[in-house]
């Protein structure tokens, strides 16, 4: 069977060689369609990869915070059991429960406070300090995020080692506000991280719990994954626990969602040109069947079944699609190469430093699956386009076909 298919393929090449100009035009039609598809999808994939890479390098991707899920209108705090379950998910290197609350300073600066176990500064948050050090367990020492530290230094004259008063406002039974003051000592300012922790005041978890606020649970759990590959599985695990994952990976998800849409829309337009290629194949094959009516009649007279005739015509279509697909893939690679060689410098020169990264990176990303997909699509489309002419050929009356002058 396979050998016969190879022989049918050889016959198909011979038949196609007889109609060179028409075949070249048809192949060009498919090739342009495939090239458009490969080009646009590779462009989309290139942009997606660039964006994801930028997020990976500029943010702390392996840090995830598991937040309580909202049930109805109430936030269900994370219980110790759930925090422990989240910390035991596969792919987690370290975890730490946290509590969040809001305070104000005497200078009316609102401060977001996060309470964390002291050890987690190193193993979960992996903090580096521009000044000072981390807080110690059970103390009233605090660490300031880079932006917050700068702000408090500039506007309130806060300094490392000098006590800082945090005010938490509550209301008494009569509804009058009562300000509770807490004295803390900043012992370190973290380096800039590029995330929310730049605005945060960090203190020891037990000290934070002693100040009140979230009761009967934690505001969330901070999780450090073993690597970037574990981020999405861990996020899935967190969702399975009924918690809500937050982190830089969401930006990647957002980019992926957006790029999926972009690639799909671009692909649809490119696919339209491929559709035109398919119509050209149908037209070419209908003409070919018409011109070879007698030959098909002869084949039937010497023993070809209807299935054999269909197989012969469809093999020709598949060969056409295959040649078109390969040419289209090559054109697509050429398109991507031109885009990567000339497009990057063009954008960089046009839009300045923001696009300087494009100079030494690939705007269009051609992958093997993409090329294989382009080829498969071309062959598949050709086969579909050939169904009608093949069916028509197989239904020919041998006597009339042989008598026809064609």
């Amino acid at each position: 069977m396979t050998i016969r298919l190879l022989e049918f393929i050889e016959l198909a090449f011979r038949q196609l060689f007889r109609r060179k100009v028409r075949v070249i035009l048809t192949v060009a039609g498919i090739a342009i369609g495939v090239a458009a598809l490969v080009g646009t999808v590779s462009l989309g994939e290139g942009i997606r990869t660039q964006a994801v890479e930028a997020i990976r390098t500029q943010s702390d991707l392996t840090l995830i915070e598991a937040l309580p899920a909202v049930e109805g209108n109430t936030l269900q705090l994370v219980t110790a059991t759930k925090a422990s379950a989240a910390g035991s998910l596969p792919g987690i290197k370290a975890s730490a429960p946290l509590v969040r609350s809001t305070f104000a300073t005497r200078g009316q600066t609102y401060v977001q406070v996060v309470g964390l176990p002291a050890g987690s500064l190193d193993d979960v948050l992996i903090s580096r300090f521009q000044k000072g050090r981390g807080f110690t367990a059970g103390s009233n020492e605090v660490v300031l995020g880079a932006s917050l530290g700068q702000k408090l230094q500039r506007y309130e004259g806060a300094r490392i080692g000098d006590p800082l008063v945090l005010i938490r406002r509550t209301y008494d039974a009569a509804g009058r506000p009562v300000d509770n003051e807490t004295r803390v000592v900043p012992v370190g300012i973290m380096e800039e991280r590029g995330d929310d922790f730049d605005q945060i005041l960090l203190m020891d978890l037990s000290f934070a719990l002693s100040l009140g606020g979230d009761e009967g649970g934690y505001s969330g759990v901070l999780l450090r994954t073993t690597g970037p590959d574990q981020v999405f599985p861990v996020a899935g695990g967190i969702r399975a626990l009924g918690l809500s994952p937050r982190g830089s990976f969401e930006q990647i998800e957002a980019v992926n969602r957006m790029m999926d849409m972009v690639v799909i829309f671009l692909g649809i337009f490119a696919g339209l040109s491929l559709l035109v290629g398919g119509l050209m194949i149908a037209s070419t094959m209908i003409t070919s069947v018409y011109e070879r009516t007698r030959e098909i009649g002869i084949a039937m007279a010497v023993g070809a079944s209807e299935g054999d005739v269909m197989e012969m015509i469809l093999t020709e279509c598949a060969v056409l699609g295959c040649i078109g697909g390969i040419c289209g893939d090559l054109l697509g690679i050429l398109f991507a190469f031109i885009l990567n060689t000339l497009g990057g410098p063009f954008l960089a020169s046009r839009f300045g430093d923001a696009f300087a990264g494009l100079l030494d990176s690939e705007i269009a990303l051609v992958t093997w699956p993409l090329l294989a997909g382009g080829l498969a699509l071309a062959i598949g489309l050709s086969l579909v386009a050939g169904l009608y002419p093949a069916w028509k050929a197989s239904r020919l009356n041998p006597v009339e076909a042989i008598r026809s002058g064609r």
Partner: protein, 222 residues
């Protein structure tokens, strides 16, 4: 006694529009016979040949090949009949222009799933038999009319079909070449024992045959 190669009874063929090509044809042709069917254009001889070859179907009567009724409603049986029992030779030669002489000869075997080596060997032997050993690699366009018809005869023989049907095989050839083709058919009939039914409107060529069946207006005449 072995059954005849071909037997038809009350064979009719009515075309849409009311044209009656065959009107109750009864013929019996023995195995190994060389029979010429003669008659004017429109007498129904080609229709008869097409029905015997399984590429057309009668509207009445029956055809029996080696004692077995041919079921024209059974597509698979008809395809098997065309693959193994009959070989066609046409007036227009009807070779595939993109295939060489050898490839044209082995073409029918492609549909019988025969191995390429066997097909090639068989085609070369048959080309030698019809005197074209040196023309195997030539394309039909590079061969004369007589040579093309010899290739077509080799193609008809390649499936070892016991029955060869030739429809005006010399209709497109000059008289000298026509004589050569009929001589070749005669010798193949003698040497290979194949049954030959040749349609012709040239009475003198019919003399090569063992006997002649005359046809007129869709009926067998004496």
């Amino acid at each position: 006694m072995s059954p005849p190669m071909v037997e038809t009874r009350q064979l009719t063929r009515l075309y849409p529009g009311g044209v009656e090509a065959l009107r109750g044809v009864d013929i019996t042709i023995g195995t190994g016979e060389f029979v010429a069917i003669v008659g004017r254009s429109g007498s129904g001889k080609s229709t008869l040949l097409n029905i015997l070859g399984g590429i057309d179907a009668p509207t009445g009567g029956f055809v029996s090949i080696r004692g077995k009724m041919l079921d024209y409603t059974n597509r698979k049986a008809l395809i098997a009949h065309r693959r193994t029992t009959v070989g066609f030779v046409f007036q227009q030669f009807n070779l595939i222009p993109s295939l060489t002489a050898r490839e044209n000869v082995e073409y029918p075997l492609l549909f019988s799933y025969r191995p390429a080596s066997e097909r090639r060997k068989k085609a070369e032997v048959l080309l030698a038999t019809v005197g074209l050993a040196g023309r195997a690699s030539h394309y039909p366009g590079q061969l004369s009319g007589g040579e093309q018809q010899r290739v077509a005869i080799a193609r008809a023989l390649v499936s070892d079909a016991p029955l060869i049907l030739a429809d005006e095989p010399t209709g497109n050839l000059d008289s000298a070449t026509s004589g050569e083709i009929f001589s070749l058919l005669r010798s193949l009939n003698k040497e290979k024992g194949v049954t030959l039914i040749v349609v012709t409107h040239e009475r003198e060529l019919a003399d090569y045959a063992d006997r002649t069946i005359g046809m007129k207006d869709g009926r067998v005449v004496a």
